[in-house]
């Protein structure tokens, strides 16, 4: 099973995305985001990015999703809409899950799948060996490069985060 772990995690990733894309109330959507974040961390961990995976948990789930959860709790309604509340949400959820399951079975059965580009069976998702990463892990080297050679990228992303906050405040000011 460990060779197929990335494939399984990717499938469950898509299913959790479907669970909040079928638009239940944001509280239930937040739960889907939580699961998606955890599984995303698992996928990144399987490719050797231990630091970034744990960053997902810390910053994304522990920071942003907590803020999202609190704001949703402030704006909640007495009867939030779950996945089985009305037929529309349930139908969207079932459609999404079915499409994902069919795709997964198709990938597992056939050797090659060509939708937009070629998948070589489950080859891209299967880890046969962790690879020789030398003395330093690639992911730590990438983060180091971001803060040394990639100063411009840090400036741009920092500025975008600041603008994100300013834009949200302007949009919700509402007078």
């Amino acid at each position: 099973m460990m060779t197929y772990i990335v494939f399984i995690l990717s499938t469950v990733f898509v299913v959790s995305f479907v669970s909040f894309s079928s638009k239940p109330s944001p509280i239930y959507g937040g739960f889907g985001l939580l699961v998606a974040g955890g599984i995303g961390c698992g996928i990144v961990l399987n490719f050797g990015g231990s630091f970034l995976g744990l960053m997902v948990f810390l910053i994304y789930l522990g920071g942003m999703l907590v803020v999202f959860g609190y704001t949703t709790a402030m704006a909640t309604e007495p009867y939030p809409e779950a996945w089985t509340s009305n037929k529309a949400v349930l139908a969207m959820f079932i459609t999404g899950v079915l499409a994902e399951l069919l795709t997964a079975c198709y990938i597992l059965k056939e050797d090659e799948v060509e939708v937009v580009f070629k998948f070589n069976g489950a080859g891209d998702w299967v880890i046969y060996d962790t690879g020789d990463s030398g003395f330093f892990s690639e992911e730590a080297m990438g983060i180091a490069a971001l803060y040394s050679y990639g100063t411009w990228l840090v400036v741009v992303t920092g500025w975008s985060l600041l603008i994100g906050v300013l834009v949200i405040m302007e949009v919700t000011r509402g007078n």
Binding site: V116, F117, L153, V156, T157, W159, S160, I163, G164, L166, V167, E170, V171, G174, N175
Partner: protein
């Protein structure tokens, strides 16, 4: 809006586009598009009425979907070529996805449905930024990949855009929707020539931006948003009446005005590349555009539009709006045709 916040947000809109135009890394292209999108949302929502909120939401949703397709394309390009540099050798199958994403950002048919609705819901100055500055970034990326675009896709989209821009604008009385359909049609002309001579696309973009800037500024000067209100311009500011006449003829692409330069150059380049039916179709459907520009001209400058008598005797107040750079813009949007031989420097 609070002036320092407004300055910071405008700075981000400008730097987002500049990042897209000047970068050589595909990730920065995506980041630039997202910065641009995020920062322009409060500008679209300057007035806090539900119409503006709805317009800003529609704009955000369509542009975010286009950015997602762009990101998927960037990752597919990384998969195939193994590097992030902005070059023009794209995987031909995946360049369809790129063209689709950029067409959604530009408002080309069949992704044009958001343009009239968003332009109508926002204020005139926000609509100005939307229809001129926001076109620069996607067109610059299309310029960079222009040699590997699928010709069937781009020519279909451009012919459809010119047709829809023409027929869609016919039944409109709201000036912002007319300008939106005009923008769709001009985008169609620009993408038609992109495969054969991207320089002409830049020429068309420049002249289109100058003309649209002037048109919006004249509308803002009078605070008019409908044809009926524009038809009372003879009473408010008679000078603008004649300027609207000349400007609408220039937008329609009539010689001897500068709006004729891009159309002439585009038809010349297309016929040099042995396409005959396509420029014929483009020129004929551009006549539909000319019809509604002429309707604006007719009601503004050539007749006294029906109104009650009290609207024919207005107080003449001095206009307090600062329309900087308007006179040079008017001159540039109408009198550039004699400079057309200077285009030989492009060869």
């Amino acid at each position: 809006m609070n002036p320092p916040i407004f300055i910071i947000i405008m700075l981000t809109v400008i730097s987002g586009t500049m990042i897209v135009v000047t970068t050589s890394h595909w990730l920065l292209v995506w980041i630039g598009f997202e910065m641009n999108l995020l920062a322009i949302i409060p500008i679209l929502m300057k007035k806090y009425n539900p119409r503006a909120m709805e317009a800003a939401t529609k704009y955000f949703l369509t542009q975010a979907a286009a950015s997602m397709i762009l990101m998927m394309w960037i990752i597919i390009n990384l998969l195939h070529s193994g590097q992030w540099t902005v070059l023009k050798d794209l995987n031909p199958m995946a360049s369809i996805m790129m063209t689709t994403a950029l067409a959604m950002k530009l408002g080309l048919a069949p992704f044009h449905f958001w343009v009239p609705e968003v332009t109508q819901g926002i204020s005139m100055s926000s609509g100005l930024i939307l229809l001129t500055w926001q076109k620069i970034a996607p067109l610059s990326i299309l310029y960079q990949i222009s040699s590997t675009i699928n010709p069937n896709l781009i020519l279909t989209m451009s012919i459809l855009s010119v047709m829809i821009g023409g027929w869609g604008g016919l039944n409109q009385t709201q000036l912002r929707k007319i300008m939106a359909y005009s923008s769709i049609a001009h985008m169609g002309w620009m993408t038609a020539i992109m495969m054969y001579s991207p320089t002409m696309m830049i020429l068309n973009l420049t002249i289109y931006i100058i003309m649209t800037l002037t048109t919006f500024m004249l509308f803002m000067h009078n605070s008019t948003t409908t044809t009926a209100s524009l038809s009372q311009t003879w009473n408010k500011t008679p000078l603008i009446t004649s300027l609207i006449l000349v400007l609408m003829m220039s937008l329609g692409g009539l010689p001897p005005l500068s709006g004729f330069i891009p159309k002439w150059m585009i038809i010349q380049e297309l016929t040099k590349n042995e396409l005959i039916m396509m420029p014929t179709l483009l020129a004929m459907t551009a006549l539909l555009n000319l019809y509604f520009y002429m309707r604006l001209t007719y009601t503004t400058a050539l007749t006294m539009f029906p109104s009650n008598n009290s609207m024919k005797m207005k107080w003449r107040f001095e206009c307090t709006k600062k329309m900087t750079f308007l006179p040079p813009l008017v001159v540039m949007s109408t009198m550039l045709l004699p400079l057309a031989p200077m285009l030989s420097i492009l060869d």
